[in-house]
Amino acid sequence: MKQKQTHHVVITYSFLIFVSLSFIGPMIFTVFSSFKNNNEIFSTPFSIPKIFRVENFIEAWNAANMGTYFFNSIVISVSTVIILIFTASMVSFILSRFNFKFNKYLSVFFLLGMMIPMQSVLVPISYFVGVLNLKNNLVALVLVYVAFSLPFSILVLTGFMKGINNSLIEAAIIDGASFWQVYLKLVLPLSMPAIATVSIFNFLGAWNNVVFPLLFINDNKLKPITLGLLNFNGERGSEYGLLMAAITITVLIPLIIYMLFQEKIEGGLTAGAIKE
């Protein structure tokens, strides 16, 4: 029996280590290369950099505009999350608490959006944004992200808010609190766990998206980091060390968010998957 146990452990570890090499390998290669110059990348591709050329990062950040792109992405993602959380939680508060004629229809109407593939509406969205003269305007980009994030966020927030104890809210209303007060002082603070999940998810969604910026933004000063990275590759793609540094800068924020909110991300993911 003991023999068999060790047998198992060996198989499990060999499997995990083998697969994780194929996962870490490409990532480590990218990070190592980000400290090298072209010569070193091709002559000693897999070794730890002898000299850590931090200047790759400095040049990517300054000369190649990655800093600008990075801050644009921060502005875009943060604004998306703020607008999304207010609009989505207000609707969810109503849908989860109040009984009125169109409640059901409204819920279904919002859920419909989850089935629309982003690509299906690229042409008309680009057309409308053009007609509204909102190309090269971050407001349009943020509003599109909010629109596409609303269905899932409303689903999660409504589900969570339904679980909030009704007597709390009724007591507040009897005490003369307005809807607005109930929403701001009671429902919103009580929904913090769900709001956190929705915020993290949609922050990452906005950070990672490239297709809408591709359509809306061609001003270099306004580009988010994903588009900036493609841009960089087009312009200076042969300076591999620099490009690897740019890739590393791009994945940094998602990586930090994962390290900080690991459980929230995984929990939200499974909630989303199982609910669908």
Binding site: F23, P26, M27, Q119, A273
Partner: protein, 296 residues
Amino acid sequence: MIKIHKKSDKMLILGFVLPALLIYVAFQIIPLMGALVFSVSKWNGLAVSPVKFVGLDNFKILMNDKNFLISLKNMIKMVVFSVAFHTPIALLLAVAINSKCRGHKLFKAIFFVPTIFPLTAVGLMWYFIFMPNGALNLFLKSVNLHQHVVPWLINESTAMNAIISVNIWVGVGFYMVILLAGLATIPDELYEAAQIDGANSIKQFFLITIPMLKPIIGICIVMDIIGSIKVFDLIFAMTEGGPNGLTNLPTTLLYYESFRYDNFGKGSAIGVLLLLLALSLVFLSNFLTGEKRRNK
């Protein structure tokens, strides 16, 4: 649930719903209608030229368009390979990690992290691995496998497979996390009882784990099919649909037709087909999982 009677309350409710409703309608519902209109029109994207109604012509053109048929073939290939690899690998990883071996949290993080990276960054990372003098070929040369050195993304027979393997790589962690959540719901007593009855781990895996996870495996497969159809960023970063348009999916072809060649009608028609495909898959999966629920 609180009932609403007063008119002033109705106005308040409207006020709470309106911001979200306006953004949603303006940037999702109206564009959706727009996609339907554009798909039966011919238009080159210029404000001065008229949008001409052409009925189902765009769809007829697509059915005879070699590039579109290639993209469909690629899409099917992408779906089949993703489904064939994602869930099985993710399931094995989930079971291994679920055994709570030393370092299981670190392993989980390693497999999961790529799924939250921007796909443009992941695509470029792999672009440099697949380059003619990139890491993969340098590695093959260093272990004396010179005969396998290929310009992966330029070679017509390997380009699509390379993209598909990156899609598999980047998605495994996502399905692993979902399956891990499923594994957590299986009661330990089942395994203990099986152990007493003398069932070894392989038997336990096939007789307990897989049957108990069936509904979640089903969800993974449906999400995988829908996800594989939507792949866009990877191709955009790795090949831009090349060589010779052989790595296009309907999603990327839609983009190029619309925004590089200004065939907005044709592009929208692809969009409508994608929408129909996504809708029918969602309804099919709801029907299948609904059926299961009723059987319980």
